[in-house]
Symmetry: C2
Subunit: 210 residues, 2 copies
DNA sequence: AACCTTTCTGACTCGCCGTCAGATTTTCAG
DNA sequence: CTGAAAATCTGACGGCGAGTCAGAAAGGTT
C-alpha cells in the first residue's frame, strides 16, 4: 500500500502540488467553519489561497471530495478517545474517568465541529461515502462502549432491556448533539462545567449502571 | 392579532394566492426530503407545482423563508408530546409511559425529519431565526423534562451532579440524534423495538432515577 | 362589457460551476 | 549552465440557477 496522494485525474503528485492541496484543504476547513456548508464556494476557497478555481479542480472533483478528506482526517483524532474507555470504568475511578472522556470529547468536537457537522449532514442525506466515514468513526468508540454495556448487563448492574449496540449509539448521539446545543445552552445559564458533569454522570450511569 | 398571510412584498393575499403558497410549501417539504437541502433549488420547487420561479419569489424572499415556515409548522406537531410527560412518570407506570413517549417521538421525527434536519443545520450555523424556532420547540419538551429531573434530585433518586436543564437538553439530544442514526443502525441489526426499548430505558433512568 | 385588482410569468442580469487549452514553473540530463 | 521535458497553474469560456421586474393573464365588480 502506498502513501501517494493523487490529483483529481489520478496522477501521483509531487511536493509542490502536495503543498497546494494541503492549503486548499486548510482553506476549505476554515471557510466551512466561518460560512457553513451552504455558503461554501469553490471561488472563495481558491481566492483564500491566492489561486484560481481551476487549481481546486486539479485536486478535487468537487467540494464534497475535499470535505470527505477532512472528515477522514478528523477520524484520526477520534482514535485516542478509545483509550479513555479501556479498561472499563469501575466504581473506584469510573466517574472521574467519565469526566476525562467528556473533556477529551469536547476538545475533539471543538476542533472539528464544522467538518463533523458537514459529514453528518451528508451522511444523513444518504451520501454513501460520508456514511462510510461516519460509521467508521462511530464504530471506533462504539465498540468500546458496547463492551462496557455488555459487561454491565452480565453483572446485573444494567437492565437487560438495554440493547448494547443501541445504547452505545445513544451515548455517541448524546455527546455529539449536546455539544451542538452548547452555544444556546450557554445563553440559558448552563456553563461548561455543568455540561461536563451532567454528561459524565449520564454516561457513567448508562454505561456501567453504577 | 390577525391570521392574514402575507406575500413577500407584505401585502395580504387572497384565497387563490394562499393555495399557491400552500402548494409551494408542500413542494418544498417534498423536495427537501427527496433531495436534501444542499440540492434544493427554487427552479425545482416551482416546476413541481407547474409554475415559474418568479411565482416562488412572490411568497418567499428565499428558500430559507419557506423552510422556516415549515419548521414553525413542525413545532405545532411537537406540542402533544408534552402531555406524555405530565404528570411525572412514577414507578408503577413510568417505564411504559417512557415507551409511549418514545413511540410518539419517533412518529414526530419520521414525519418531519427532513425539515428538522434543515432547521438544525441552519440553527447550528448561526441563523438567528432558525435558532429561535429550534429553541422554542426544544423548550416545549425541555420544560417538562427539567421538572422531572428536579423532582428526581429532590427525592434523592438522582444525583445532584446532574444539572436539570442540561439533563433535559441531553435527553432531547439523544432522542433527536439517535433517530438520525436509525437507517444505519438497522443495517447492523438494531431493529425498531430494540431502539424503542433502549431509548425508553435510558430516558426512564436519566429522568426519574428508577 | 368595461374596468380594476390580484396573481402569474417571460425574459433578463448576475455570479458560480466545472472544463480545457495553453502559459508558467520546476526538474534534470548532458 | 542550458534547453527540453514534465509538472503545475490559470485565463477564459459555456452552462445553469438565483433573483428582479415589467407587463400579461385571470378573476371580480358594477
Amino acid at each position: 500500500m502506498s502513501d501517494d496522494v493523487f490529483a483529481a485525474d489520478g496522477r501521483v503528485i509531487g511536493s509542490r502540488a502536495l503543498a497546494t492541496r494541503r492549503k486548499l484543504l486548510d482553506a476549505t476547513a476554515k471557510l466551512l467553519q466561518e460560512q457553513g456548508i451552504l455558503d461554501l464556494r469553490v471561488v472563495d476557497i481558491s481566492r483564500d489561497i491566492g489561486s484560481s478555481p481551476a487549481t481546486f479542480y486539479q485536486y478535487f472533483n468537487d467540494v464534497d471530495e475535499a470535505i470527505l478528506e477532512l472528515a477522514k482526517e478528523a477520524t484520526e483524532d477520534e482514535k485516542p478517545l478509545v483509550a479513555l474507555l479501556q479498561p472499563s470504568w469501575n466504581e473506584t475511578d469510573g466517574f472521574e474517568r467519565a469526566g476525562r472522556f467528556v473533556d477529551a470529547y469536547m476538545v475533539y468536537w471543538d476542533t472539528h465541529h464544522a467538518v463533523l457537522r458537514a459529514r453528518n449532514l451528508k451522511a444523513e442525506e444518504g451520501n454513501r461515502y460520508f456514511r462510510a466515514v461516519r460509521t467508521e468513526a462511530n464504530l471506533l468508540v462504539m465498540d468500546a462502549l458496547q463492551a462496557m454495556v455488555t459487561e454491565g448487563i452480565a453483572t446485573k448492574r444494567l437492565p437487560d432491556s438495554l440493547d448494547p449496540f443501541t445504547t452505545a449509539a445513544a451515548v455517541v448521539a448524546m455527546c455529539e448533539r449536546l455539544l451542538a446545543f452548547r452555544p444556546e445552552m450557554a445563553k440559558r445559564g448552563a456553563n461548561r462545567d455543568a455540561i461536563r458533569n451532567t454528561l459524565a454522570t449520564l454516561l457513567y450511569g448508562a454505561l456501567t449502571g453504577h
